[in-house]
């Protein structure tokens, strides 16, 4: 489906661009003289077709930026994506991916806050990330800015039998709602730790080189146990 949509966008893009280039060339060949013909060509060449091309490009931005492949294109996201694709990893992201709990657009599925505000915020954050990445104004390991919303987990898990059957979830419903307790407090890390993602760390190279060569098992039982034990009791 994704490939078909992208191919359709590409074909449409070529058609519109070729049409616009022909019109622009026809105007340019008039050598700067603005006559009736140029006036008739100028409206589609300078207004209608560019609007359609920009609309198509924006649709492409919104569609492709949801894909895991799009996230993986940035150097700083590689440790996250490679860990997710690593079938020996037990991080939440990897477990969701390996079990196909989120069938498509896995990064976007968890990181887009729900509702229209969430979508807009995700897009604005995306542009900010893009500028930081292109201008190289970031420091590895990158940090999550803001607070991860439990609603992103609950939108799928809440009201499922598996969720409701866990007694511990019931008294915590208000804390889940106001984010005063995070799902990850009990369910472990979503991604490799900052330590693992720091350049120079022994696991950094594995995380950067791809899922096939990733030998680590971030979030293994022992580590998870240590992490849960390190949490405050209140």
């Amino acid at each position: 489906m994704f490939t078909e949509t992208v191919q359709l966008v590409q074909v449409l893009g070529v058609v519109l661009v070729v049409a616009d280039l022909i019109l622009l060339l026809a105007i340019a060949l008039k050598g700067g003289k603005v006559n009736t013909v140029v006036k008739r060509l100028a409206f589609p060449a300078l207004i209608v077709l560019p609007i359609l091309i920009a609309f198509l490009g924006n649709y492409h931005v919104f569609e492709t930026s949801k894909k895991v492949k799009a996230c993986m294109q940035c150097h700083v996201m590689k440790p996250f994506a490679n860990d997710m694709l690593n079938d020996t990893s037990t991080t939440l992201a990897a477990r969701h991916y390996q079990h196909n709990w989120i069938p498509k657009d896995q990064c976007y599925g968890c990181h887009k806050d729900y509702g229209l505000n969430g979508t807009l915020k995700a897009k604005l954050d995306g542009y900010r990330h893009l500028m930081r990445y292109i201008t190289r104004t970031y420091v590895e390991p990158i940090q999550y800015r803001g607070e991860f919303q439990n609603a992103n987990c609950l939108s799928c898990h809440q009201q499922t039998k598996a969720f409701e059957s866990v007694e511990m979830h019931r008294p915590l419903s208000s804390q889940f709602a106001d984010n005063s307790i995070s799902c990850m407090n009990c369910h472990g890390r979503a991604h490799p730790s900052r330590q693992f993602r720091t350049p120079g760390h022994p696991h950094y190279k594995d995380l950067m080189s791809g899922p096939a060569s990733s030998q680590h098992s971030e979030g293994n039982t022992e580590e998870l146990k240590k992490f849960v034990e390190s949490l405050p009791n209140n």
Partner: protein
């Protein structure tokens, strides 16, 4: 109406950036599309529309 050379060049650049981005959606191309192609389109369109308005006023249509 004056020559539309600037508008033509801006639209041409914007269109070329857009088509390259559609085929190669890399972070660099996405930045060019969002932060360069869009302002080029907007500037060219506004400039053209202002020129049309001026032309229509000169001919006392508006």
């Amino acid at each position: 109406m004056r020559s539309l050379k600037t508008e033509l060049i801006f639209i041409l650049l914007g269109v070329l950036i857009s088509i390259v981005y559609i085929f190669y959606p890399t972070p660099f191309m996405m930045t060019l599309f969002v932060f360069v192609a869009h302002p080029l389109f907007i500037f060219a369109m506004i400039s053209f529309l202002l020129e049309v308005k001026k032309d229509l006023k000169d001919k006392e249509v508006l």
